[in-house]
């Protein structure tokens, strides 16, 4: 798996800045807009969820579309490792790249809020946590985009169906977040695991 992770990270790490920039913009704009208080996190959750979903979709496409060409697929799969290993290698590298693009800016923002301190602004670094949880749910878009690329479905609607599941994961997670954090996490993880199992059987 190490070889596949190495290949994927070397191949796609150059796109990371393109993921980091929109997340940073969302965080900075939110910081500037809510100058006095940083605890109204609903808007931030939605914005981070939206941008993180976009990053996950793009990353999923980048990691699966080029390797769908028959010759590329053959070069990737015809070697002394199982297709399972290739899949988990792609998933792990995809999550690592996604984490750098999404979680590093969120962590940096939390660190910045802690550094500035409540004397400057009545904000708590924990305000970033819901956005980070939504971002975990948004990774389901990575799995969905891989399924969209790899599934052999003729109808566009059928082909895009995994996207619906990923969208549902994010919306349910968002909707429940402010009332029951535990349930929100459970919903996100359930859909993530379900999509992973389906993706493994298809890809």
């Amino acid at each position: 798996m190490k070889t596949i992770v190495w290949k994927e990270i070397r191949e796609h790490a150059r796109w990371i800045p393109l993921g980091v920039i929109p997340i940073v913009i969302v965080l900075v704009l939110h910081w500037r807009a809510s100058f006095l208080i940083f605890d109204d996190t609903k808007m931030l959750q939605w914005m981070v969820g939206l941008v993180a979903s976009g990053i996950a979709i793009c990353l999923g496409m980048l990691q699966s579309w080029p390797d769908q060409r028959p010759a590329a697929r053959a070069l990737l799969l015809h070697r002394g490792i199982t297709a399972n290993t290739v899949f988990w290698g792609k998933l792990l590298s995809g999550f690592l790249l996604y984490a750098v693009a999404v979680f590093v800016p969120l962590l940096a923002m939390a660190a910045f809020i802690a550094f500035v301190g409540i004397e400057h602004r009545p904000a708590d670094p924990a305000a970033i946590l819901p956005s980070a949880l939504i971002s975990v749910a948004a990774f389901s878009c990575w799995l969905a985009s891989m399924l969209v690329v790899q599934r052999d479905a003729w109808m566009v609607g059928s082909r895009l169906m995994p996207g619906l599941a990923a969208g549902m994961a994010i919306f349910l997670c968002q909707g429940v977040m402010n009332y029951a954090v535990g349930m929100s996490i459970a919903i996100a993880l359930t859909i993530l695991v379900a999509l992973t199992v389906i993706a493994r059987s298809v890809c």
Partner: protein
């Protein structure tokens, strides 16, 4: 009938449809170990589809295939490391350096032969630091070939390996493959359009057209079993129906060239009845193969058609 342990590749009733179009229809073929088999056919005949199914990269619609005695659809990593595959177009990831491609192979093929890889790079004039996207097409072909041969495979499947190679590199490739085939009785399945290479390399030939296997024979046997005649008479569908085993008829000016499979006394008599001055002609391997590959719709010849236009 060959013994099962003497067969490197076996297909039985292998069929693949893409939508309503059949790319391969009920292909049954045994490729013996220790021989070089050339797979010949025009573009779209189903050669690459066959290879992709053999390697388990594409599921068949019907039928099954085996590689080294293992079902193609469930090849284990251990079996895969015993099979070298060079894909059509010599695909390599363009962002990689040549040494990165070697690393990717080395870590997933336990019998990786680094000195062989280095020697082949040197031959094709490629440095390990070169980026794949910056080397020439011929050099890329060389790197692809080096990557495949350095895995030290028992069975080598090559999909149009000469594509993009200049004549010097092509000759080196053929010589390299011959040397490779002689080492420990390796098996090679080579899919090519270059019939000169087939003549120099192959022990056997399999001709595929429109997804169907037309010929599966030893090269010498194939040459012996295909005969050519030249006749000076008019030749149409009615005459064609009289000749048993007629593979192809081609008109060049006033003469018609006939290619017949398995000619016997009855065939010779039928040809003599059409034209008493019919002459037997020596067929090259190229003539014989092209006769099989000419689509049935191409009656006559292009030159005759052009003369008719004039």
């Amino acid at each position: 009938m060959m013994r099962a342990d003497n067969i490197a590749i076996r297909t039985s009733g292998l069929t693949r449809y893409f939508g309503h179009k059949a790319a391969l229809r009920g292909l049954t073929l045994d490729i013996p170990r220790g021989q070089v088999t050339a797979l010949v056919g025009h573009n779209g005949a189903g050669k690459t589809t066959l290879i992709r199914m053999l390697l388990g990269l594409l599921p068949p619609t019907r039928g099954r295939s085996e590689l080294l005695g293992h079902d193609s659809q469930s090849l284990t990593p251990e079996v895969r490391t015993r099979v070298g595959y060079l894909a059509e177009g010599h695909f390599l990831w363009g962002w990689m350096r040549v040494r990165d491609t070697a690393r990717l192979q080395r870590e997933t093929f336990p019998r990786w032969d680094q000195p062989l890889f280095d020697a082949m790079l040197k031959f094709f004039g490629v440095t390990p630091d070169a980026r794949v996207r910056q080397i020439s097409r011929g050099q890329r072909a060389g790197v692809s070939l080096a990557m495949t041969l350095a895995t030290d495979p028992e069975l080598l499947i090559l999909d149009d390996p000469s594509m993009g190679l200049d004549p010097v590199a092509r000759r080196a490739l053929v010589e390299g493959l011959l040397a490779f085939a002689r080492r420990d009785d390796r098996t090679i399945l080579i899919c090519t359009h270059l019939l000169d290479d087939v003549e120099r390399l192959a022990d056997r030939i399999a001709i595929i057209s429109n997804g169907q296997l037309l010929v599966d024979a030893g090269l010498a046997e194939f040459r012996e079993r295909v005969g050519g005649w030249t006749i000076d008479a008019d030749f149409g569908a009615q005459q064609a129906a009289q000749i048993p085993g007629l593979v192809d008829s081609r008109q060049l000016r006033e003469r018609t060239h006939l290619v017949v499979a398995d000619p016997d006394q009855e065939t010779v008599a039928a040809i003599q009845r059409i034209s008493g001055t019919a002459r037997r002609e020596e067929l090259t391997l190229k003539d014989a193969v092209l006769a099989y590959l000419r689509p049935s719709a191409m009656v006559g010849s292009i030159s005759a058609a052009l003369e008719n236009v004039r």
